[in-house]
Subunit: 495 residues, 2 copies
């Protein structure tokens, strides 16, 4: 555009310019959504990280310990070699033909990469919106073997991590404030955030902290009946197993009780099972397996209408490949018309990242005994598992020794969620600073040690009780030691 | 769970099972959303593809030509070697140290991979929700150079393709049916689908087909005033440039007129500029550049409140890396409080795929003259560009020769959108089959030739006019020939 014509346009702009949008002009449901995992404390941690980069900082620590988010590879966890070797070949298939590498690529790795490439095609092409059929077949086989009940590839939707699945499911089932979603408290705040975005009603059910964070089916029924009486129709029951932030594992008997409630009230069960590989104590049994068992014993069709969406992800487990955005959901018992709507939502987003889809295949179908890559895979994966188990134990023991702290023994997932008794003095000080008491604790912990955790209030907790969620992913034990020292001093200060 | 306890649970299930959800129980806004690019015709094409796999099929063609979607690598487009080499090293950094490869890796490739790895870290870790800072810096430099006006990395949000950006922006600005969004007709149906999901009102403005699909600013003003009179507040003006499905490029003067309207009415401009590299005729000038030029000449602050979100993607251009889900949006002129809300939405999705972020960096910062990888990169990218230009021309010429077909000369993007005169007989036949006339044309085209296109009704068109959108990505000219033959026969049949 010539400068002359530009000037002409500007000069002839005889209007008064309108104001910009401000937050209060925006979608109030979006404004209402909160997401503590990346909230105030982590934001402050980022600021401190920038200050640390300046050598003349006056902070009492030299690094930030990111214990706020289950992000293993941000800390010291190395990716599994086999996964990354295959993904490298999918990105650049010429590696498979490279004469320099020829004799050095393990035979199973080469065969696997070729098979994936043949069946996926270029990872740069959009796939089917439901995900690559080959990968869905593989997922179905994995589930069949895990549960002992046949799964179908038609029921599998590959997703960009489990978050996308939650967004589709909640978006589709929300019809405003008259639709209710039973969510555990404490919960992973993705659920409350997504419900806020959809203007649906959260129906919190409290996990029983003194009984290993168990679920009371009778309480569920009470909440459902109360909700119905108030005109809010319960639609969906969210179960997180192993629990986030609690780290607890549900027993099959407890799952059966939940399923009875779902069957009676027609609730869609969302089983968030992304931590199914992170098991330190006890056993993981999928909601699907219990449902299949019930259906097998059920001659009267009591359980045949149960609708279950179960979610898995490449971000957790021993893969820890958060940044690659892989995952799947399995839909069981849904009407075709409902499934078609989920398919449409998926198609509006085109497709999940194709390398993430390949990673799902690798996660659920790792090298087998006898394969050339097996030994290394086995060594790496068991060492990751062992390290997590050890760190969870060390952290748990540290909490057990701290004054006023009680904590469930770690069973699964990547988190501990200790209960911390806070004094009236802490309450007063926190109020002065415009914070919740547990937020104040986390803020002081960060300022004094560089440890970034998330206050229990971000996940929900019984009123008057205070918690902190921390991962046990950070390497070393120094940070655990510094937490202990901080805690002792904090308790003294506010005694 | 023991079979005994299972039986006990089932036997004590004294409730009557509730019914399953059906589609009418779902969010009506989700039900209303339509997405033709993966709609009825492409779904039918998938069925035909399955039939083709059976050797004894009786179809009059041997393959499906996927001309319905801009998915270059699904067809014959090879990915750019440099991009994929770097991504392979980011997936498996040990390749950089592999002694067998040592002297064979071009020096710039090695240096670049190392720099990206150092600055991104593992691609398996969640990044900052706004995207990796290093990549955002690089994007800001690219934009500064492209437009001649300084851009800031703080304004850049990396996204999973442009679709995610659209979803955040529309979700945040929609406050139900009282909020209006000006969208071009014809349009890429992501916009109408997203508005339906958000229950906001689409305010269609028609592109002038006989004037190279131009925009009439006076018509925009009329639509805005009419809409305000009806109580629907216009919030946002969507511009797709180069156009999808039209393939037309906007002139800077036309952009200046749009910006005057946006400035006067306080509309947020969404500039969907994902085809900015696909230019065959004329020149691409970004909305941002014109805005900066206006602001530079504007002493009275008429243009200082304009809010612009401009979108780019790794899926199109010469990269064509659709499946990798990379992209960015730049936010200009937004209040901090609004930007913070976008940041929150991004954080609920955790982060865009990290390999997709790396790919953005590669796309906007390719090898430079003198770099060891430059020659191959230049050869590959210019051959892709040339092939697209040639195919667009061949297809355009074919349409020019067809009876009752008129088509704009290709300027940009990946599509042609020919106008097809259809007879009363076609109308009758289509109605009989429960289709729009152009849908019937596309359906017949598919059944007879295997060519999968999208009817104009999926994008919107002036009432009584009929179009077909087709990509020109499919290799070879046989399919163009078979389209010509089909068309002649179709016109004869329904004369």
């Amino acid at each position: 555009m010539t400068s002359e014509s530009l000037k002409k346009v500007v000069e002839s702009s005889s209007f008064e310019p309108a104001a910009r949008l401000v937050a209060s002009d925006l979608n109030p449901h979006a404004l209402n959504a909160k997401y503590a995992v990346r909230g105030r404390i982590p934001t402050k941690a980022e600021e401190l990280r920038t200050r640390l980069a300046n050598e003349s900082h006056s902070l009492p620590f030299n690094k930030i310990i990111s214990a706020n988010i289950g992000n293993p590879q941000q800390l010291d966890q190395k990716p599994l070699t086999f996964y990354r070797q295959v993904l490298a070949m999918l990105q650049y298939p010429e590696l498979m033909e490279n004469p320099r590498l020829k004799d050095s690529i393990p035979s199973d790795l080469l065969a696997r990469s070729k098979e994936l490439l043949d069946n996926i095609g270029s990872v740069g092409a959009y796939s089917h919106s439901q995900g690559v059929e080959y990968v869905r077949n593989s997922v179905a086989k994995f589930i069949s073997k895990r549960d002992g009940y046949e799964a179908s590839p038609d029921d599998i939707f590959l997703t960009a991590g489990a978050s996308t699945a939650v967004s589709y499911l909640l978006g589709l089932m929300s019809l405003g404030p008259k639709t209710g979603f039973l969510i555990p408290i404490p919960q992973y705040p993705l659920y409350t955030a997504s419900l806020a975005l959809n203007n649906a009603t959260a129906l919190p059910y409290y996990l029983n902290e003194t009984d290993d964070w168990s679920i009371d089916a009778k309480e569920l029924v009470k909440i459902i009946e109360d909700s119905k009486a108030k005109g809010v129709e319960p639609r969906c029951l969210v179960v997180i197993n192993p629990g986030n932030p609690t780290g607890a594992i549900l027993k099959p008997e407890a799952i059966a009780e939940l399923l009875a409630v779902a069957a009676k009230y027609g609730l869609v069960v969302i089983a968030d099972e992304v931590y199914q590989e992170n098991i330190f104590r006890g056993e993981f049994v999928s909601v699907r397996k219990v449902l299949c068992q019930l259906q097998e014993n059920d001659t009267q069709g009591k359980y045949s209408n149960v609708q279950l969406a179960s979610l898995h992800s490449t971000s957790k487990g021993i893969s820890g490949e958060c940044g690659q955005r892989g995952g799947y959901m399995e839909l069981i018992g849904f009407e075709d018309s409902v499934r078609a709507q989920l398919m449409k939502l998926a198609s509006i987003s085109l497709c999940p990242p194709v390398t993430g889809q390949a990673l799902v295949e690798l996660m659920i179908n790792p090298p087998k005994k006898g394969d050339a890559s097996y030994e290394l895979y086995e060594k790496e994966s068991s060492s990751i598992h062992k390290a997590l188990a050890e760190r969870s134990k060390a952290l748990f023991e540290a909490f057990s020794e701290m004054e006023g702290v009680s904590c469930q023994q770690p069973e699964g997932a990547m988190y501990l969620f200790p209960n911390i008794s806070l004094s009236e003095k802490v309450y007063a000080k926190a109020e002065e600073q415009g914070m919740e008491p547990d937020e104040f604790y986390c803020s002081e912990l960060l300022d004094n040690t560089g440890i970034c955790s998330v206050p229990g209030s971000g996940f929900g907790q019984v009123e008057g009780s205070w918690h902190v969620r921390t991962t046990f992913l950070a390497p070393g034990t120094e940070w655990i030691e510094s937490w202990k020292q901080f805690h002792a001093k904090f308790m003294d200060t506010y005694r």
